[in-house]
Amino acid sequence: MNPEFEERIGVTRRQFFGKSATGIGVAALASLLQSEGIASPTPGMLAPHFAPKAKRVVVLWQGGAPSHVDLFDHKPGLMEKNGQQVPDAILSKARLSTMTAAYKNHPVLPPIRPFKQYGKNGTYLSSLLPHIGGISDDICLIKSMHTDAVNHAPGVTFFLTGSQVPGRPSFGAWATYGLGSMTNDLPSFVVMTSTDVGRTCGQLFFDYYWGSGFLPSKYQGVRFRGEGEPVLYLKNPEGMSPELRRQMLDDIAELNRRRLADYGDPEIETRITQYEMAYKMQTSVPDLLEIDKEPQHILEMYGPDVHRKGSYARNCLLARRLLERGTRFVQLMHSGWDQHSNLDTQLELQCRDTDQPSAALVADLKQRGLLDDTIVLWCSEFGRTVFVQGDIKNPAGHGRDHLGSCYSIWAAGGGFKGGYVHGETDDYCYNVARDPVHTHDMQATLLNQLGIDHTRMTYRYQGRDFRLTDVYGKVVREIIW
């Protein structure tokens, strides 16, 4: 795919709409075609390369990096190694952040809470994750993830854009660019953020985590905010009634149409359409946010936090509402896992706030028949060290540092193998021992499930064909059906 190709499609579309301008209205025409099932609201720049397994994605971003040692990577042998040094042979392979790179001592801190077996397949997970345990037969747990980054912003940027340096298109931008939108009333790519209640985690969310890079800016994620207006500038100005606005838009459209007749520039037609879509969003977004309309048993699935604006639980429920209304890509960004010095208290609190809603989203999509073609991805930038950061004797002040050489994530739906555990790590949850999955491999696999060959979805910029996976990545066949 190159921009020239894209422009040709754009021209086609414009020519088509342009010709219809004197007759049937553009928006009306589009929805007519849509209802007849022969045109999507806005076609992607790419036909799927092969039959897709999934058409929607929800990313549950666990910012700050949860400890795989405590939550997913069950190593009973660690208990007896409590306080013993991690061998140099194990340590030497991984790069560390400057916070612990100069440490001389690396005493093992075993998981701080017990593990338990869950589901028919008996997957071991932390006892702090009973709800995810409850859906363990639906999730594909990957214990052999590894990444190039050891610090947060580069790590998040790497996972979500394929490069550690900001400026490349995000995964969601690539997906909506490639596949187009499925709704006219809501954005195709929506981002929502939440932070831990005590704001103990210093991780911030930058808009390049959902940026469009060198793709046209319309592919960037639209942030729905927890507080204030959900979408910037969504509300009419104070004092202006919806009726007055409606009439105003009609008159603007009439004047724009006159200009179109005079100047012949199809961009004017596009503007008319976009103003109409803006009006639709003004009703569809508030409607989306009215979660009180959900039945009680659904609200209860997501837990009591669902009633708190801006909470992770509420965002999970909103994600489901978005996905069922045609949004293609939802990115929930939660910050709270950067437990360098407060593992003992925060690990449990983060699990409490994210475990139930994450599991509820999977179960809710499943009961609506949406899970089959929706990828739910629970992931983070990296994992944490098995050795303690701080004084091992002081649980109130110690934790774990960043670790990029191995960590765990999980995916459900969209053709990912439920009830399957992939990969093995060494005895210290420190290096991948079997079946490594690099960040680019995961990106390739996710695109594959969307019907996209990651080597063929390219965009020419600065004379180079860019990909989400740079020049790397291979589809991990073992984790998909």
Binding site: E7, N151, L204, Y233, N236, G239, D251, G463, R464
Partner: protein, 823 residues
Amino acid sequence: MKPGWKVQLVISGAVIPLCALLVASHISLASTQAKRVEFNSEILPILKAHCYECHAGEKNAGGLRLDNRASAFKGGAGGPSLVAGNPAKSPLLDRIMGLGGKPRMPIGFAPLTDAQTVLIKTWIAQGADWPDASRAKKHWAYINPVKPAIPTVRNAAWIRNPIDSFVLSRIEKAGLKPAPEADRTTLIRRLTLDLIGLPPTVAEVQEFLADRSPNAYEKVVDRLLANPHFGEKMALPWLDAARYADSNGFQQDGDTFQYVWRDWVVKAYNDNMPFDQFTIEQLAGDLLPNATLDQKIASGFNRCHLLNGEGGAIAEEQRNVILFDRVEVTSTNWMGVTMMCSQCHDHKYDPFTMKDYYSLMAFFNNVPESGVPPGGGQYRIADPWIEASSDSEKATLKELDSKFSDLDKTVKEMDKDPAKNPMGKDPAPELKAARDRRQSAQRDRDNYKNNLPRVMVMSDAQPRKTYILQRGNYLAPGLEVTSTTPAYLPAEPADFPKNRLGLAKWFVSRENPLTARVHANRIWQIFFGLGLVKSAENFGVQCELPTNPELLDWLAVQFREGSKASKNLSETAPWDMKALIRLIVTSATYRQSSKVTAQLWERDPENRLLARAPRFRMPSLILRDIALSTSGLLNDKIGGKPVYPYQPIDIWEGLAITKERDFTYPQSKGADLYRRSLYTFWRRTVAPGNMFDASVRNTCKVRTSSTSTPLHALTTLNDITWVEASRNLAQHVIKEHAGSAPGMIAKAFQIVCARQPEKTETLALTRIFNRATAEFSANQKSAEAFLKIGDSVRDASIPVAEHAALTAACLAIYNLDEAMTRE
């Protein structure tokens, strides 16, 4: 576009465009089979991209090398791979198509596209001509331009300057005619928006309409080129290219004082600094003999990069990220090629090697910097930096300093006086008060001092060795390299210093084939929306070919060397930016109407032939400026500290997690709310919410993006900025042009769009006014709430319902396509 394309596209329309395109691409390929396939431009790039990973240089999987003619024909272990003229007997073709029961090449990578396969097949069938490297035609952009002869045209009367001869020659070749000249009102609005980024005032329009002198147009051009807002308008694309922002980015996102550099740019454009000097000072101002403060500030260009102050950031890794960024920004900006590929391997298309990349990086590797900014506080300024206070700031500091010293002296004297400072007892009330005054004077002085600009600049004070980094990994240094310009391009003269100053001089030397073309193209792009080379960021082998190469070369040489006076051309100095711009905007090409017929649109949708003027929406930064200036709110002060205009109240809310400082958005008050968008504080992590489609200023961006989305519509319909401007515009016409509603509405329309509206247009806008009047009269509270939007004070003598209703009509005017567009 070939006729085959068009038929396919139109018939299938939007319904199944992709299928149509695939079919069309086959057809067009089939029809090009007769055309001679050119090895260097068509085949070699395919081989480089898909085969050289395993079949080039020392890598010769299966004994096969495809990087030279002899080896390719000799083939590998399995015998010859190519038989000239006989595709069926060429195993290479079978392997890339996956025939013959062997794995399809390239193994492990996506197969070649059908188009590429057809191309290779055709090339073999045509005799597999593989010219020696020495005979290979050099890519056009690497050949130094010479001024081509000015073509003759049939319609010589249309020509205003040499640009027109090149453009018209092309138009005539296509059997078309140029568009008629745009009407005068459109012209003055276009010129004013293009040159100063503001619309003309009603008086300026009238003056131009009334001026019947033959050089009336040129007078306007000269007036605008001398206007100090010219530098602001020109600075905008340059700031995008320089990834300028007011903060470091990343987790701590500390504020910086780089605005001093931004002011340098505005002033340089206004002073018409020659482009060679503009280049030298920004790349190496610090290395000039007896460098002035301004020249050192100019070198801040290469310090507008991101800085990662995250807790665990590895300084050396970050320092290398910064070095990569400097190479990228410099090569994109001056050479119009990206060197990024050569960070990990020799460039696949362009003649740049890894050695070239790291030799270029060596120029930037002597900066006394750690790679990470220091911690703490609001400002995080990484070494090296200089103090750059203005004279008035220095004077204020001196004042505050002496105020503190005076108070300090007073306190010290009183301290010694036992009457006021008795031993073992509380000091006298007057001493206490004096101490408090001293403390607050000290705080005032320290606060003021902390906010005085410290500009990050370049310096070569820490020479380092530079190595080729394997796969771009700073932990894997290879061979040592020294500062050298890319080997393929003409070498820098021996007397140039071997440092950034030499590099800068080399960019603007007459032997450099790229710089003048790249910049003539970038300036062209400002006025025509698209460059003559559409890929303004890439002039390399993979670029979009120039639509009018002779015009590009003529402009480049004209720009680089200036000219003596001749027919249609006045005398100009080398690298004269205003002269180049003047030439462009006084051409007949520029003065055409932007109206387009359906036939012409179909023929040339992108306007590459320039048989009409382009029509494009102004950038959002300028849209805001338009609203401010037409409503009378604009504070047109030039330069200075960034300001904080309206943003949704919790825009920086997400950043508040960083407890080290207060991240509440410090919204400006009064006149600072209405500065031009150029001066809006640009936080890298959260760009201003209402500046849509803008570069996010993290990486170098030399092409603007203009899209149209519902979110943009919501911004200009609902943001305080536009509602408040509407209220002030309404107030202005009510106070200054009191009369009938249609009359006032027509006036407001004229202020925004420069032309008088037609009756039907006034009628439609009056309909909004009438409905709004009815609604606001019935609901006074709504009207009052609507009029309360924005900090500016409303003239309370205007009846509420009327004012609110006219505000609604003005808001509609600002949201017209025409109001946002330069036509």
